[in-house]
Amino acid sequence: MDRLRQIRFKLRALWRRRALDAEMAEEMRAHLDRLVAANRGEGMSPAEARARALRQFGSVSSLEDQSRDEWRFRWVEAVAQDFRFAARQLSRSPGFAVTAILSLALGIGASTAIFSAVDAILLRDLPLPQADQLGIVRMGPRDGAPDKGIGPAITGIGPAIALEMVERARTFADVSPFTLTEFDVRQGAAAERVVGMRVAASFFRTLGVAPPLGRDFLSSDDQPGSERVAIIDSALWRRAFGGDPDVIGRALQLAAERVVVVGVMPESFRFPELFGATFKPQIWTPLAFAPGEAADRGARYMSLLLKRRSEWPWEAVRRALDTIAREYEVRESATFGNQQLRAVPLREQVVAEKRPMLLLLWSAVSCLLLVACANAANIVLSRTTARARELAVRSSIGASRARLLSQLIVESSLMAVIAAVIGIVLASATISLGRQVLGEFLPRVDEIAINWRVLAFTTGTTWVTSLIVGLVPARRLSAVAPSDALNRAGAPTSIGGRWTTTLRRVLLVGQIAVAVLLGTVALLLGRSLEAVLHADLGFQPDSLLTFQLSIPDGAVQRAEVTSLYSGLAERLKTRPQVISVGALNLLPLSGGSFGWGFLVRDKPLPPGTSLPHADVRIVTPGTLESLRISVRAGHTFAPSDAADNLPVAIVNQTLARHVWPGENPIGKQIKLAGPVKVLPWMSVIGVVEDVRFESPDRAVAPAIYRPQAQHPWSSGMSVVVRTVGPPAEVMPAVREEVASLGRGIAALSVREFDFYLSRSVAGRRLVTTLVSAFASVSLALALVGVYGLFAYAVTSRTREIGVRIALGAGRERVVWMFMRDALVLGCLGLAIGAVGVFAARRLIATQLFEIQPMDPPTLALVGTAVLVTALIACYLPSGRAADVDPTRALRTE
């Protein structure tokens, strides 16, 4: 009761402290004055009366102080005082403070940013209701099926089968077919290629979202011949309609058709990046299959969005799908033999590919955080020991142990708080930068934000570390008799004790180990990046200009497409900077893929296996020349490979090796799966070099090249222009020539090919840069640690060194004494670091290219570098030991 009232009184007193102080002073002064007056009344002199009054009253300042306790929170003020003192302490030794705080801030900032990113990307549910029940179904090889190295592992499903699945899979889930596509959104003469999807009417319902503006698709929208409608996302809504709220019912002109906008998705909606980070669809239209399309079983371009029942785990869903797949296998062995329907949870589909990279970054930054903690701990340790004298003095003049401990706690905390503030700034700057630049190669970048729990964790870790490490020696310290501490002022080691020194050496070995580990990983990544950049792509990416043609529907007859491209090529080639021009359906390294099942004449499929799969590239004459893809056998396409002539194909070396091992592929016949009328048997006329189409660091898939003239391909292709000099100089010429084609044909994404090349290695570059930065920081911190430890050792052993030198030890021997110690610590760290690399070899290997994690030259190089720099860091202070003057050293005490 009383305590409560007291606290209430103190809280109220907070606001009127000055007034209370003044009133107290007034009251006491009045009392004193009356005492003086009374004494005067007894006949004393003024001075005498005043002196007596003061004796009668007692010490005013001590009474005031006692009184003030009634309206202040004593411990709060003690802590505040500690804080002021700590701030003075830190600013008195700025070198110490800056090193400790910066390394902590760096550790906190970097790890908060990366932990937040990892949490947002890998751990959080996708921002969809019941996201954990959503998955995607595609086809892939059955586990354990022999991998002949032919075809990509995973493909879509034929439209007919996808539609059947909606019926069949209804028993266990919601299923909604969709396929990816691109739309050329046109506004006047300008066109923009936008990633989009064709989806079943139930798609958004399965996804669990609906457009807040307008309506969802109706099943009537999905009928062939019904009005073409679209749902768009908010970004496209703003670009194409200026964010007009009356957009519903307005038409959007796409190259191939005109669609009516029926819905706009909310600002917050981001479709999961199911097929890589560049896959960010902005427009959705209903499937509305034409009858012929709906009956197609072989063209595997459909995927299924699946929502499992909450009581069915994914394993049950997979079993159910497997049952269906086996039924199909009996009837359609060419499609379903050794293939299965694979259900992958949506989040897995989005993040799986980037998981190893993120885990590697996560591990690296954890190492950095550890090093920062060790560094701070080391600094705090050395400070506590060096301040032995100050602490001893304070304890001898009456500071309680609790007071000394609280002082040390406050100092560590102040450091942690300042570091956390800088760390937050660092982390939020990193995150906002990351959100701007990472979107092209990391999924879910929009969802990354500073995670306050993560921040609390990283800050807490550093704080607790420095606390524990600072307090343990402090406890021993306050047990030391003050006289002892004061007497041995010259040799504070005796107070810190062996324990502290041992701890510092252990921390140092740890720091060196982490520096070795991170350094090795950084060097391995750097060499991989170098290897990727210099990898033989199979084509020459420099001096290439690329663009796409957007052709309005009906503007160009199918038969005219060939002459359209050849005409454009001829006119561009008249420009002096242009060497050659070609066009193909898909640019290398652009992130897309286009594959097809194929058959080989006279090589029937083994029963129970499905068709092999190959990338299909539709090219115009001049394309292989422009990309500088070299022909290894036979010859390249000629303009004579026209629609009416003998169907021909060129294959890459991988396909030739797998299909006709040891045989000459020239003259052999293959065909793409499908009706012979559309997709006839083709004679192989040439074999070209393997091209790393998908990514510079990924294995090459089998590929079939077809001449555009023989392939029913009318949509816009990508044009490649080989130039002399900078490709950018050809841009105006390209725009001019495309404009002169008329008929609403527009050039899209006019870019130097370098754009795609650097985008394809951007993720690798980022990881390499980050890990290298972490490695540099941890190495620098380790060196600071080495320097600090030996500087301290030399200072505290000056007397011993003096004795040694006086007794005739050579100066080199004295220096060697320290260097040998550093060498032992360095080698220990090196060994532990190497063990670390070995332990993490699997994770590291996921990010390497043409190099092994346990690469002896790399390890040797990093080890030597770390050891040499550590020895230098040790020599700098140890060298001073040799300069010790024995006579003076002996007098230091």
Binding site: D2, R5, A30, H31, R34, G58, L63, Q66, E70
Partner: protein
């Protein structure tokens, strides 16, 4: 005059409460009253009254108010609260018990 004695620990509060139970009074008045009633037998540094007064005020036993005083200056007048009155009763009772106990021991031991 008798030899002055030190006030036992914790009894100052009781004395001040007792003095104030007679009516509201300022610090000087309390000091004078203590001196007079104890016939100046108590060794009291008058300043120590103030921390005691503030402490009791913080605990809500007394309240204070500024008012003009007899010598044309303003003074802070202290008054017992209900809680203070209760406190006085409890403390006097326990003082009585202590006194009796000590007297008994001194007589018979």
């Amino acid at each position: 005059m008798m030899a002055k004695i030190d006030l036992p620990q914790g009894t100052l509060d009781l004395l001040v409460l007792r003095v104030l139970s007679a009516g509201e009074m300022h610090g000087w008045g309390v000091a004078q009253r203590l001196n007079i009633v104890s016939r100046e037998a108590l060794q009291l540094q008058e300043g120590t009254l103030y921390p005691a007064l503030y402490r009791m005020e913080a605990r809500g036993w007394i309240t204070s108010e500024w008012a003009p005083s007899d010598n044309n200056r303003r003074a802070k007048y202290y008054r017992l609260t209900r809680a203070g009155r209760k406190q006085l009763q409890e403390q006097s009772a326990s003082w009585e018990r202590l006194k009796t106990a000590i007297t008994l021991v001194m007589q018979d031991a």
